[in-house]
Symmetry: C2
Subunit: 324 residues, 2 copies
Amino acid sequence: MPTIYEVAAHAGVSPATVSRVFNGQNVSAEKSKRVREAAEVLGFTPNRVARTLRLQNSEVIALVIPDIENPFFTSLARGVEDVAQAAGYSVVLCNTDEDQAKEARYLDIALSANMAGVILAAAGDHSDLDALIRRGRPIVAVDRGPHGYDIDAVMVDSRAGGRAATQELARQGYRRIACITGPHDVETATLRAEGWRAALLGLGLDHADEHLIYADFRIDGGHKAMRQLVELPEPPDAVFVANNLMGVGALQLLAERGMLPPVVGMAVFGDLPIFSPTPMAVTLVSLPARHLGVTAADLLLKRINGDDQPPRTIVLRNQIVPSA
Amino acid sequence: MPTIYEVAAHAGVSPATVSRVFNGQNVSAEKSKRVREAAEVLGFTPNRVARTLRLQNSEVIALVIPDIENPFFTSLARGVEDVAQAAGYSVVLCNTDEDQAKEARYLDIALSANMAGVILAAAGDHSDLDALIRRGRPIVAVDRGPHGYDIDAVMVDSRAGGRAATQELARQGYRRIACITGPHDVETATLRAEGWRAALLGLGLDHADEHLIYADFRIDGGHKAMRQLVELPEPPDAVFVANNLMGVGALQLLAERGMLPPVVGMAVFGDLPIFSPTPMAVTLVSLPARHLGVTAADLLLKRINGDDQPPRTIVLRNQIVPSA
DNA sequence: CTTGACGGTGAAATCGATTTCTGCCATCGT
DNA sequence: ACGATGGCAGAAATCGATTTCACCGTCAAG
């Protein structure tokens, strides 16, 4: 753990000169060479902590996501990472587990660790970004909206996707279409459910109150919700599921009951992390997860580099893939 | 971004006293109260960077994994995270993409950012841990061995798993059993292949050289390798696949060719991230991914807290799940 | 009554890098 | 030949927290 002072002493120059060598300032060729040699000999690596303290800024960006076990978010993370790496930034991944308290802790860390910026898929509807914003740290919301803050965002059109998926189920002939969505306080959950409701309305179809279930965006939640639905006195003949993991859960239950699609119709928002030997009769709203990450990272890096335009919201296309 | 100095001024005490209030030293009740109030009013959060610089130590641990899109590693990450969180530590997840250069960069960051410790699933067989070790930073190897360093490790028995899986295939009546494993320079890949070879030897079965394929531990690699195998003049009648993602790829290819298990026998090391309506005829070596993470984190935290015993290697059970 | 210990406090040093500020020297233009 | 300009380099300030050191007062032990 040699410091800049030891390198300086070894090279017979001042610490300032060592710093200049590594930061591309004007240094005579000869001293520069001596410094580089000394650094080589001692195995010098500049201390990032000291550097960050002085510069009030680091080359690290935080990616805050609600569920690291969801392939959607890991794909997204890959997108962020690839862009960040290429620009010389490191990514630290923070998993909030859909818990606003954990999220707040990580945001706090990002701030007090002087990270360069944050890409946030919010765990709920009242993230507190004031401190970060006051500090001038750029933030990009991804997948889920910024909820009351006027900041950059990269999303897919949840409402339109929900509507299209539901319409597709209707086109396939299903009439009693239920909906399993995520937590009340998660924007994408409510929007997708809204899209579903809007589609039903537009088609002149009705829905019973108990055909809309708020679950937790996890496999188990989808499983339980689907059980509730099939055990209703008047069960639905199809279901729109608002994310990939709950889709898996719902399919598991249907498999147990021998009611796999197309016996019960199903449309899922997101891509199923599923391998099935025969193509499944499930309609998908396919999401550009990786691209979402790439776009968010691009936006963030632009901001970090001083881009000063008014905040943008970028909406990426999602693509309906009807079941065979 | 109020500092400790501003809090001190606001409370009419010295910065030293403010620090002592927040670090549980002796401070009179009255000043303590004034400081807390001032901190509250100003919205003071101690600057982690400054703190870390001074303490030469932070409450962050690095988790370095080769593939964030592999559910095995995300489960492992969850295990690490849960333990770390509970102990007041934060986890930063670093994805090396099986690339030793990226890995080196992240290890360097962990060191120069004064992180408390590292949990490493190595990307290859020559990770350079010298600098971290010199600095006294604890490191725990997980899933893959430490390769030449005498440090703590948490693993499953790859060789035994490979042997058991292969034996199970033989028990099911397959005779020409091939093997798809990972990169040459990844320990788990070579050990699993060794287990496979040992099983064949023990059974008096032989294998052609072209029945052992080194792929890349990814879906696509498994797909290509399986294609190579089925297109051989004398294709195998079963295959042992050394990780979960390649298992998916191999299954995809077999599905395309209408040769799904049990037409071709298959055993996979790891749990398949797969949902299949009817139970698949695939033998699994089930891995305690999350538990691996929990154990590694426990070990690391013990070291961080000064545990000074000689390094341990913990081998967790893996469980053979024969196909139906 | 003296000595010592101890609780409470502030001034100042410290962690390791960057960056002003300053001064030196050489080169250039007139 | 002389002031101006600019490259080069070191001393010292700075980022914001923690901690040593020194000092004061109080209280208990001798």
